[in-house]
Each structure stands twice: as C-alpha cells, then as structure tokens.
C-alpha cells in the first residue's frame, strides 16, 4: 500500500491587539509618518514603553518625536528571509538609534546587499504606501537610498493593531495512527489491546498510559463497527475564525463493542436530536470504498468524517448505564 501523505495543518488566527495609550500613540504617529520615543529621566526610549525601564515604576507619559534618521548600532544580513519577515528578498535586521533617541529600535533595513551595511551607518525611515496601523508601516533604508514622501495622516487614534498569525506544521503520521487510518479506509476499526492491563483503546495512542507501556503492531485488534452511545453533547456552534459549523450538531462518544475507550467526537448526522440518547446502540455506516479518504485526521485529532458517512441505530434495546458510564470520558 502507498505511503499516507504527511499530515499538514495550519494554526491560524487574526489577533486584534488593543494597544493601550503608549503603543497606540506610537502606532498612530507611525501611521501618520512620524516616530515617537518616550522621555524618561534624561533618556529618550524608542520604542516607547509604558513605564520606566530601570525600575518598572509608572512614569508620566512624555512622548517626543525622534528620527526619521538614525544610526545603526548592530545589524545582521538575513540571506534567507522567512515568510514572516517584512521582505522576501535578503535584507538586514538592525538595531537603530534614531536621531533624538538614546536607545535602539529593532527593525528592518532594505539595502542593496550585505556590502551596503555597516555598523555606524546612517539609515532613514521610509513609509509603506499602504499603512496598517502596525509596526510594519515603516522600514529603513541606507540614507543615500532614502526618498522622502508625503505621508497623509490617517483618521483618529490607533487603538487596535492586527496580527495574522499563521503557522504551518507538517509531520509524518505516527506508526499506530497509520494502521488505524488504513483500517478505516478498509472499512475496519483497528484498536490496540494492552498486553499489561488488557484494556482496549481506539484510537490508540500507541501506548497504554495505565500500565506505562508502549504497544506494537502485535497488540492491534479489530473491533466491530457497532457500539453504544456513552455520552454526547448537542452543540450550538459559536462563530469564530475558521469555524465551519453553523447549525446545532451532535458530538458523541461511541463505545465500540469490546473497547474500553470510546471513539470521541463522532458526528451524528441522521438521527434527530430529540431521539438521541446515551445507551443507544449504533452501527457505523462507511462511505463507499472509492470515496473514503482520511481528512482532518492527524496524530492527535481523530476525525473519521472522511470515512464514516453516518451512524445508524441498530434497533437493539438500549444498553444499561453500567455498560458505558465508566467509559464516558
């Protein structure tokens, strides 16, 4: 059989950060083409902080304009930028002491090459044409490359800054999970029976936590596609970024016959919510073999939705609570 493709997933959320007074003033000014520092004792700190950095005690806010020119205190040439960097071509990160400030700002310098960079060099702020009320509204260039442009001021004070955090992950499917997934595609439920405690887990994690023992392929067992509703929730979906559910739905834990651990998060499609109950006996109805695919299953999350079409009542009498209550977890 062919290798299952590696699991890929993206953890993504557009965070909206409230800035508070100091970061807000800094980002407002930045949007409007100016850079602010905070006067603290006999120093000007840039970027400005809400407190005295020496003592962490509150200070009266005294924001002053600094830059747009500055001097590079240290720098590093980034030969292979990441997707999160401000430039996708090689560039420098630098510590820049802006004119009028006493401390350095960490920011990006767009230069023609590493040879254009040196400690002590002069740089100048440049504003992006499209500004987003974020620290990325500005970048720096060697002074000789600078072109000063008019930066039209925006409206109101910046109180929010957005940051879309999107991280990609990729990993091979773990050995047991692979056998579980292949079983599903073949229309079978493959669990594991602990050689020590005798407990049957599905999907197994490849070990028995009760006995603290790893399990191998020799411990695999096939379970019937029939079981008991050990517990369920009717969920009214809350809308959030990335949420695909819109209507109330059931998530059930189904204890397959012979298992000690229920299959969690099962999507119950065809049974009316008011008829659904714990103890009900159900049978898994698999999708046609050609349509079965492993979707949204990774090494931790076990969606079986691409393989099991729905669960149907077997018509048998309900199981008594003692059969399943201690397995409701």
């Amino acid at each position: 059989m062919s290798e299952l493709p590696p699991i890929t997933y993206t953890l993504e959320y557009p965070y909206t950060r409230t800035t508070g007074p100091v970061v807000g003033a800094f980002l407002t000014a930045l949007r409007d083409g100016r850079i602010l520092g905070s006067r603290c004792g006999d120093r000007v700190i840039c970027p400005p902080l809400e407190f005295d950095p020496d003592t962490a005690e509150p200070v009266a806010q005294d924001l002053v304009e600094v830059g747009p020119g500055g001097t590079v205190k240290s720098w590093t040439w980034i030969a292979e930028p990441t997707r999160k960097h401000p430039f996708q071509q090689p560039f420098a990160f630098a510590l820049i002491v802006l004119d009028g400030a006493d401390t350095a700002l960490s920011h990006a310098v767009k230069a023609r090459g590493i040879d254009a960079m040196s400690t002590g060099m002069r740089v100048r702020a440049q504003w992006r044409e499209e500004r987003a009320s974020a620290v990325t509204d500005v970048y720096f260039v060697p002074e000789a490359d600078a072109v000063d442009t008019y930066v039209p001021p925006g409206e109101g004070e910046v109180e929010l800054t957005e940051h879309l955090i999107s991280l990609d992950f990729k990993e091979a499917i773990h050995p047991f999970r692979e056998r579980f997934a292949r079983g599903l595609i073949a229309g079978k439920f493959i669990g594991q029976k602990s050689p020590v405690s005798g407990k049957v887990y599905i999907p197994s994690k490849g070990y028995d936590p009760l006995a603290r023992v790893a399990m191998t392929e020799a411990d695999d067992v096939e379970l019937p596609p029939v079981g008991i509703v050990a517990g369920y929730t009717v969920i009214t979906p809350v809308q959030y970024y990335g949420q695909k559910e819109t209507e109330p739905y059931i998530r059930a834990s189904i204890l397959l016959d012979g298992a000690d651990q229920p299959l969690g998060q099962q999507d119950i499609k065809n049974i009316p919510h008011d008829e659904f109950r714990s103890g009900m006996r159900l049978r898994a109805v698999f999708r046609p073999e050609s349509e079965r695919k492993i979707v949204e299953m990774d090494n931790r999350w076990g969606s079986t939705g691409g393989v099991i079409d729905h669960w149907e009542p077997t018509g048998e009498p309900d199981a008594p609570p003692e059969k399943y209550l201690e397995h409701l977890f």
């Binding site: 240290s74 590093t76 040439w77 990441t82 960097h85 401390t103 009760l210």
Partner: protein, 353 residues
C-alpha cells in the same frame, strides 16, 4: 539559598532526533520507565512531578496535557507544569523539596520542533506590538548579538567557528548528538552567511527529544544511590526584553547568578552551557569567569542537538553524568530562554557522599 541537601539521583535523555515519528508522551514514558528501573522505585514512591514543554512547538493549544500520559498519573499524582525548558521545572522541584516535607521529585522536559518552522514560530516570543509582526526571530537576534561582539572587538568570526568546530568534534563521543563531525575552522569559514556574521553551522539543528531526572533529599538520596550529585544551588535571572536597552556583548544575569551561587569559590571542572548560537559561548564563558581548566560542553552542546524545552535540562544532566562517573567533581549546567540570552539559569552541582 536552600538549606536542604538535595541531589540528582537518576538521569535519562533521549537522543536528539531530526524527526521522531511518534508521540511526545512516548518519549517521556521511555525516560520515566528508565529512571524507575534504575532506582528500583515505583511510580507512586515519587512525591512530586513537574514537566516543561511548549504548546506552540506542536501547534496545538493544551498539547502539554497529553504529556501526562507519558509520566503516569493513575492513581492521581502531585504534579505541575511550566511552559518553559525542563531546567525551570527542575528549579521549581528544587524549591519544592527545599520545604523539607517531601523527598522525591521527578522532573522532565520535552519538545518536538520538527513539525513546525522554528524561525516562524519563535518570533511569537518577542514583543507582540513592536517586533513579532516583523517576524523578528531568535536567529536574527543572535546575528545582532554576534555583530555587536565583533564591533566591540570581543570576538571574531573565527572565534565563532572555533566554538562550532570544537563542539562538533566533542559530539563524536556523545551517542545522543544529532550533529557530530570533525570539521576544521577553515572549512567552516568557507560557508556562506545565513544571518551575518553567523553561518548555518553557528545555529542549532532542529531537534525532537526529551530529558528527565529524579532529585531526592538528603538521606533519601544516599539511600537511592552511592553517587548522589548534590545541587549546591540553582539561580535564574531575566534581562530586559528590549534589545535596545541591553549591552548585547555581556550576560549580566548569568554573571549575577554565578556570584550568588559562589561558582568561583571552587574549581569548575565541567560546564555545559546552553549555547544555541556559537557567539553565546563566548559571552557565557566571560560572564561565568571560566578559565582553561573547565571542560566546556563536552557533549557538544545544543549546537549538536537542541530539543527545545529539554535542551537546558540536558545540560544539567550532562554535568551530573560526568560527576557520577568521577570524571568531574564540581560543575555547572546552564539553561537559556529567549532571544540573545534573555533569560539564564545556572545549576551548580558537586559530587560527594
């Protein structure tokens, strides 16, 4: 400082894997079972358990919860978790045993960096308003720190390469190392810059792995082993997060911790330093005041295997193992967190009955 005698009585670590194709709990389970076998203890002889790990490495909020599977929690256990390197879990365990009412604590650190892209994840450790949106990553912070060292006349690129060359050669004797090679400084200096003045080999590899150890109080330690490794003190300190507010060429936090621990009141036979970027070794050696008598990073250090969240605790384990073997009598393990050595922890250890 603690007045209780507390010793490391058993240690375990996995190799540093480029990709470990199984769960993080399974890594931990192997280590816990090994420690229990080595000490002939039952899981429930252990009074307190604490682990360090990081949700973001696996891209799953609450990922740490399943790690409990690995170290055992039935019947229930007295347990805690820090979202930090296992070295800080050791700190909390050492503090807890110092209360004097319990005897044994199990400490672990684990992490799998291989599924994600650390250079894209780690900018999230930085200021969420001023630097995280720039994707400002620890490699870049290390580059700024390295350039500052050069500009201050405190180091050269050749010095960085020498750290790498020596570390990789040392790692040849470390079965848990991920990168080990006999490579000359001149060869290393032929490589192109990655984050100037750093080259790729000045960075740690991306690793998966775990580490664990067991600490015990006084008589309990002597009962469990004839070679206890006494913890003479743990001290950790933070620096400013804002690079512009720091002198990047020094590590004041490390220097102060070394003073508090009395590091120089005796010989330092071995030092395992959490050198994630080669210039960090130069800064740490100066801050610790180490001389040529100290064997520095005989394991090869994080440059040769860096399972984040386990890596700092591994430094302490590497020192403890050398004290147990008699190769060293007194040594220091160092752990670090954050860009440009923002946070540093020292654990001073000594052999003796």
């Amino acid at each position: 400082m603690s007045t209780e005698e507390i010793a490391i009585v058993a240690v375990a670590q996995t190799p540093s894997y480029r990709h470990y194709n199984d769960t993080e709990p399974s890594l931990l389970m192997t280590l816990v079972n090994q420690i229990l076998a080595d000490t002939k203890l039952d899981r429930h002889d252990i009074d307190f358990t604490i682990a360090g790990s990081c949700d973001y490495l696996s891209g799953l909020p609450f990922a740490f919860v399943s790690n409990v599977d690995g170290f055992g929690a039935w019947p229930p256990v007295y347990e805690s978790h820090v979202e930090m390197d296992g070295a800080w879990a050791l700190f909390e365990a050492w503090v807890r045993l110092s209360m004097g009412d319990i005897d044994l604590a199990l400490v672990a650190g684990s992490g799998k960096s291989s599924p994600g892209s650390p250079r894209e994840i780690f900018p999230l450790q930085t200021d969420p308003y001023y630097t995280a949106p720039l994707g400002f990553d620890p490699v870049s912070a290390a580059g700024l720190q390295a350039q500052a060292l050069i500009d201050a006349g405190k180091a050269t690129e050749r010095d960085f390469a020498e750290v790498v060359s020596r570390s990789r050669r040392s790692a040849l004797a470390n079965p848990n190392a991920q990168v080990a090679k006999d490579v000359s400084v001149d060869e290393l200096l032929k490589e192109p810059y990655f984050a100037s003045p750093l080259r790729k080999h000045d960075l740690p590899p991306i690793s998966d792995g775990a580490s664990a150890l067991l600490i015990a109080r006084g008589d309990k330690a002597r009962e469990l082993t004839d070679k206890p490794v006494w913890i003479r003190g743990i001290d950790h300190r933070m620096e400013s997060h804002h690079l512009g507010l720091r002198d990047l060429t020094v590590s004041d936090s490390t220097r102060i911790s070394a003073e508090k621990l009395g590091l120089k009141s005796g010989p330092v036979d071995v030092a395992e330093l959490c050198v994630r970027y080669s210039p960090e070794e130069i800064i740490l050696v100066e801050a610790l005041g180490l001389s040529g008598e100290t064997n520095i990073n005989p394991s090869g250090g994080p440059l040769c295997g860096h399972p984040v969240m386990a890596s700092g605790l591994i430094r302490i384990i590497e020192v403890a193992e050398r004290i147990r073997s008699g190769e060293a009598q007194r040594g220091v393990g160092h752990a670090a967190s954050g860009g440009a050595l923002q946070q540093n922890l020292l654990c001073l250890m000594e052999g003796g009955a």
